[in-house]
Symmetry: C2
Amino acid sequence: MANNPRKKNPPEEDSKVIPLIKGRRATSYDVARLAGVSQSAVSRCFKPGSSISGKMRERVMKAAKELEYQPNAIARGLITQRSNLVAVLVSGRLNLYYPEALFKITEELSAAGLRALLFTVENEEDAEAVIEQAWQFQVDGVISASHMSQEQYQLLEKRKIPVVFFNRYFADHPNTVVYCDPTEQVEELAEKVAELGHERAALINGPMDNMVSRERMKMSKSALAKSGLKVVAEVQGDFSYESGAAGLQELQQAAEQPSVIICINDMMAMGCVDEARSVLGLNVPEDLSIISFDGIGMSQFSSYELTTIRQPIGRMSEAAVRMITERVERPDQSHEKRVFEGAVIQGGSIARAPS
Amino acid sequence: MANNPRKKNPPEEDSKVIPLIKGRRATSYDVARLAGVSQSAVSRCFKPGSSISGKMRERVMKAAKELEYQPNAIARGLITQRSNLVAVLVSGRLNLYYPEALFKITEELSAAGLRALLFTVENEEDAEAVIEQAWQFQVDGVISASHMSQEQYQLLEKRKIPVVFFNRYFADHPNTVVYCDPTEQVEELAEKVAELGHERAALINGPMDNMVSRERMKMSKSALAKSGLKVVAEVQGDFSYESGAAGLQELQQAAEQPSVIICINDMMAMGCVDEARSVLGLNVPEDLSIISFDGIGMSQFSSYELTTIRQPIGRMSEAAVRMITERVERPDQSHEKRVFEGAVIQGGSIARAPS
DNA sequence: GTGAAAGCGCTAACAA
DNA sequence: TTGTTAGCGCTTTCAC
């Protein structure tokens, strides 16, 4: 490299000292040379909390501005062993219905001086590859809102990469989690529909390999039982609008017909409502009551106004980012699980049971 | 650093050669030492297309596997001047209604060996900060689906960072763009509503600082004029459901009432439909026809079934990624603009004009 | 085909 | 407070 600006005092002197080679971006050496100080002085100017005189700072900053110098985060990461990168794992399929969390997380990370390296993972092989990628890029941490097997998690743990799970966790393994527990709210709603005279309920479940889905199903069943409702049928969907509609159709086959349906997420509930109204000719909620989970924005559009249980996505995202930064600072800190309550949205999708 | 594994043949010999220091991640030196080869041999094994013997590769790979070695992408980026990072700029506000593109882009980038560094930008200051961040992280390119001023773009250009604009561009400046042009489809629909006997139309516009919004507005007006429809009123929204509903309310004040409304995006159209039905007691499409743009998944839910113009988001995302990789390879290549046609979705939100 | 050595741009320990 | 120096982990000539 003939033009290496690094060599100190080359014999040929200035002839070689080109301030800024065509198109090359300025380095701290360029700034140091222009300001007539050492390179480390430049470095210190860009590190908050370094001891540096006002005069020096001024000189350096002037030169830096002139050369449009910005420290190279990649090089910094190499030496500090901190990339300031956090891998955010989302499932496209799921997050299509739930983008709020992703954007909130990205913003919060940004505010904490971290960048979001986005990965989509749809299945276990994806997760495998994504984890290797994240590892190669030396991410400081992982926020996982997608599928991840226990082996995969343990791999990350072994590699000392902090992981925060968003709305999922491993029950039999210590892990750091932010989670929404709508148990109380389901019970509240189950009691309410019981009071409204409902006796037979059905469930439209989500994918069984999804923890949120399984949990919601479980708590729904026990809440229904507690309030004396009978579960007359149960079908499975995949979180999508279409599968909600299909689920309702499938329920038509049941021996006993439910007067209230619990859908494991809003999107399926919307499919269910639409199918009931436009295909089966039923009125919701007069002929059929529907309850769901999530509280996404759309669920409150006038066409739906679902009675649903909202997750405090904003607070959860905030918590996830706070937890990841904490674990990055202190990796050996003990695990923590932050559980947020849900909140009932009193929509208009439940009513007195038809007689 | 006492345990630096790099020093060749230290006087004290093996005593110092710890295979893998507790918790330290393996480097190419560790692998080289274990395999009994040079460090550069290891490097070559992980660079496709390097000349290396099968025997060597095997030995190295065995050692690498044993140490769970994966090359450090940060260090590689430092030396190769290629971070393999692409900044993806989205507007949370907008993309909340349009997450498909983001996920598709991320996936495509991934397939091309690039990682998405996600940034949300809501306003011009955000853009400023985000561009500096992207620059610090040495991104190889930028895909911008959010606001960016011409000055900001020129800054990136000056810094030789390739930019691909997604659904926006600067008319008076060469730039690389993927874009959807629904002009023909608007004209087709305008003609259709004219045939259906409509004479008075209104517009619910998006934000005026948004190019897509302005373009759609312009082409809608000219299409309406071409088909002989009169624009009786025009109000402004912000792309949101609520603003669509509010827009319809505002239109009620107009001297002449429209029989057809063009909404600049689906989300506002949905707000409009709901407001018409549930507040004004109008039937859509019998009393009021509605046309919109985007063709998002939700627009086809049975409650809405909008007649809208779809953007081929999948193909556009693919194109954007292809274009950014090309520009990263050959930065001096001339600019290109890829324009995709829209496609009319024959929904159920237009009908014969009420008499 | 393989190894030695230089150096990407930065931080941090140390010396002055 | 400032400068000197030694690397972070990798790729890439350049000899052999």
